[in-house]
Symmetry: C2
Subunit: 187 residues, 2 copies
């Protein structure tokens, strides 16, 4: 039952956005009883969070390549692919268009907290390996990584070039002032 | 006449969003003839771009403090203030919610091109002063700077902390791997 309900929910989120989705319509599409959904998930909000996270977890596994740079590039490349797919694109726009009422904001907070908890492991492992200072805030690292991709998808709607993940990662890791090969700096 | 029309347009953009705005409603609010607006601006799109840019130029003057770090912090601090004001917040959400039809996308492209042309001067001057490698893409620098602010405003809706501009700028300039004071690194 869970898989069918989650799939129906993600389908409806893409079609109708965050605020338009109703549990009765999910029940109809998944061919289950509405009361069964409430029994399992409790609230509409819990169902939506579970569906959004299931989709993100499937599309965005947390890489573990052994290096920070490798993990950041793998993660942002997968994110770029997800955000340019119809499903990922629709979910991002649904989150951007939804209102500020307390229930929606609680859902939004829970969604991003869970996403950062997953993806933040990339930074946490890098700190443990000594690749990042132990004062680093994992959430900030991931925020700086993903923000330019979401910014293009939602606001400027510019295409995400294939080299964009690597450009972002190299700027973030080593800084813009050292972006050039040191051997060429005085050349 | 221009000031009244621009003000009415920005007011309507905040109230009704990008797609809801009509020239006849602008004319009514500004108490001018609809034909006068078309004579001056040609199209609805040109009027909207002019209004959005007038607002951004007023709220977001390009700083010239003499250092790249000073300029980036001044600009992102002003942007954070603008995006958390009712006007800036509404404009960002209107841009995020508007569709992908060719006319809207042309408007969006022109708006961001003009914004980057203005703010990109910060990076261009830094290249001239030798603070950035001459291979630096000014638009990329500004995109990395502003994306985390817009990302919070439109997607996560997290508050922008007062120290967020400086955190972003220092990470961007020197990189996350050197974010800690070198004297403490082996301590």
């Amino acid at each position: 039952m869970r898989a069918a309900v989650i799939e129906a929910t993600n389908q409806l989120l893409q079609d109708q956005g965050l605020t338009g989705l109703t549990v009765s319509e999910v029940a109809r599409r998944a061919q289950v009883n509405e009361t069964s959904i409430y029994r399992r998930w409790g609230t509409r909000e819990n169902l939506i969070i579970d569906a959004l996270l299931a989709d993100a977890a499937e599309q965005l596994p947390v890489p573990d390549s052994g290096t920070l740079r490798g993990d950041l590039i793998a993660y942002s490349t997968a994110l770029a692919r997800y955000l340019t797919s119809p499903a990922g694109n629709a979910l991002d726009r649904a989150l951007a268009s939804a209102g500020d009422d307390p229930a929606t904001q609680r859902l939004r907070d829970q969604y991003w907290d869970a996403r950062y908890a997953q993806s933040g492991q990339i930074a946490t492992r890098a700190i443990e390996r000594g690749e990042l200072p132990d004062t680093t805030d994992p959430r900030f690292v991931l925020e700086m990584l993903v923000a330019p991709l979401h910014f293009r998808i939602v606001l400027t709607r510019e295409p995400l070039e294939p080299d964009m993940p690597a450009r972002i990662v190299d700027a973030l890791l080593h800084g813009l002032v050292t972006a050039v090969d040191p051997r060429n700096r005085d050349g």
